[in-house]
């Protein structure tokens, strides 16, 4: 077993909701008790539809959202309770790449200042010449040119902006990069460029990624292990090959069958789910998927499923794989 870089234990992120009656606190349970481990050098993909809490989970690991409960260990060090000051040293190890390349760069800063900022904050340079050299190296590393440094974000296309965002994240030489939907705002041809860049950087710099996305094929392309989320919980976690070739949870099955196949004659066996995702404000009791599940049983409506290991390292949160049900 390889070294564990990140361990998340029963993490919960709740947002208080305004509008609840006085004296009673109401919450949106964005992330509701998630546990997983990320090993050094692997890519852990998190997939799910909008509102499943995958972005919140990514941000909570970076402490950009305050976890309500649970523990986060980075490299064996518990960082859950760290305040902003203490987090500074941690930020050198974990960096984030954001979804929207148009919003994540300050429009009033030049590319140079954007990429130089982390170096300045963490004082990772000797003198001005060293700073300039480091910034230019970073730009080259992500496939941009020296002359881009003096330009402003609005002059770049989406793909180029995402490269700037990646350069900024690489500046502090992190071990773990959390990429929150880094390619979903990009065109297909550009998306492939950025995915290839991420893969290349991973090899060259020994990086570990947590790759959050809603696009199943993108996640399959880049990940080693995948976790499928639904309404704040994982429903299935396992090696990529196992999840994609042999999905066990009814939700994963439906999700995979819904992906459009770029082949007009490919056989299509759709599992069409009825309805839409319930609100995370008032999630259904029991298994949260039971309202849309084609294989819903009586027990699903009241008892939340436990984790069942169906294969080595392949976990499913579903009553179908409870041995007691199997024998029936």
């Amino acid at each position: 077993m390889k070294d564990v870089l990140l361990k998340v234990d029963d993490l919960k992120v709740y947002y208080p909701v305004s509008g609840a009656s006085i004296g009673k606190k109401d919450y949106v349970k964005a992330v509701d008790g998630v546990s997983f481990e990320v090993r050094k050098g692997e890519v852990f993909g998190i997939v799910g539809e909008s509102g499943c809490g995958k972005s919140t989970l990514g941000r909570a690991i970076c402490k950009l959202e305050q976890p309500t409960a649970g523990k986060i260990f980075l490299d064996g060090e518990e960082i859950t309770g760290y305040n902003n000051k203490k987090m500074r040293s941690v930020r050198k190890k974990v960096q984030m790449v954001f979804q929207d390349p148009y919003a994540s760069l300050n429009p009033r800063m030049s590319v140079f200042s954007i990429v130089a900022e982390p170096l300045k904050v963490h004082k990772l340079y000797k003198d001005q010449a060293d700073l300039e050299k480091k910034v230019i190296d970073l730009l080259h590393r992500v496939g941009l040119d020296t002359y881009h440094a003096n330009r402003y974000p609005h002059e770049f296309s989406g793909g180029q902006r995402q490269r700037i965002g990646i350069a900024r994240a690489l500046a502090v030489e992190p071990q773990l990069i959390i990429a929150d939907e880094p390619v979903s705002a990009l065109d297909v041809s550009i998306q492939a460029q950025v995915l290839n860049l991420l893969n290349e950087l991973k090899k060259d710099l020994n990086l570990t990624y947590i790759f959050v996305a809603h696009d199943l094929s993108v996640v399959e392309y880049i990940s080693d292990r995948v976790g499928v989320m639904y309404l704040g919980n994982f429903v299935e976690v396992g090696d990529k090959d196992k999840i994609y070739s042999n999905p066990m949870h009814p939700y994963t099955q439906a999700l995979l069958s819904a992906v459009p196949i770029p082949d007009p004659e490919a056989p299509r066996e759709r599992i069409l789910l009825s309805g839409s995702i319930p609100s995370a404000h008032k999630p259904p009791a029991g298994c949260k998927f039971h309202t849309r599940c084609p294989k819903c049983m009586e027990c699903c409506k009241s008892i939340p499923p436990e984790r069942y290991e169906v294969d080595e390292g392949h976990y499913v949160y579903c009553h179908l794989y409870d041995d007691r049900n199997k024998t029936v």
């Binding site: 297909v188 459009p260 196949i261």
Partner: protein
Amino acid sequence: MATDNVLEIKNLHTYFYTDDGVVKAVDGVDVELKRGSTLGIVGESGSGKSVTSLSVMGLLTGTKGKIAEGEILLDGKDIVSLSKEERRKIRGNKISMIFQEPMTSLNPVMKIGDQIVECVLQHEKISKKEAYEKAEKMLTMTGVPRVHHMMKEYPFQLSGGQRQRVMIAMALVCKPEILIADEPTTALDVTIQAQILDLMNQLKKETGTSILFITHDLGVVAEICDDVAVMYCGRVVEKGDVKSIFYNPSHPYTRGLLASIPRVGDAGKELQSIPGNVPNPKYMPEGCKFAPRCPYAKEKCRKEEPGFFRMPEEGHISRCWMCENSTASENDGQKGGV
């Protein structure tokens, strides 16, 4: 010419007259939509696919865009030259459109039912009660639950998928001949997207509406379209039925697009990407617009823009010099009047 094309766009040029000069968003597009079929227009951002649809709808007024040249034939009649009032009558009645973002295209302060009813009353002289019944029937067809309730609800009370269903109901309630769908599923989740695509396919069969489907997602195209036109920099670069485009793509751009989609089940293979970026419309390259990013570009490509060349499959044409040799005799030249 008695064709079975319900919509023909001929040599369409739509330019935007900005303060910095003219931006040729659509620069010579020829496509035809066969009756009862679905035509997909595929392209990346900036390819001019959405501007094409707005030109057809006549929704360019209020922007700096204008149709500079070309014809849009609806049932063989040109609609570009029509007056605003005549265009308005066509909209909703003969051509309807659904947009990418269902929230912003619904009026947030009007009840769902009233919005559909208003749509009906614009084009049909029937009583309000009849219109209401018609609206309810249409909404039922789109498969939303609790139709009776929903007619009295406001857009914010619905989920994204439900809103898109309402939009579809509004678009189809007047039984238009053509439905233009501009990225209708892009803002939706995969499971919801599957529902909506399924619905559109089913409604197409039931109502006989022809669909002009605009998208950047080749996966969706394979699911729903009969014919495909691939656009790049304001031009159609390749056109043909869905099988020829997917199984025998001839234009390097189409090939590049197909190779850059990660496919479920294909992991591990290296993803091919198209180098470079879409050129800035202000600095459009000479010759073939794709040449700067094309791995096969030759001197000729950089100097001279190719016209359309016929490919072996019927109706399959491609705007690439590489296809010249295979069918040199049938070269239609710059005009592209295939």
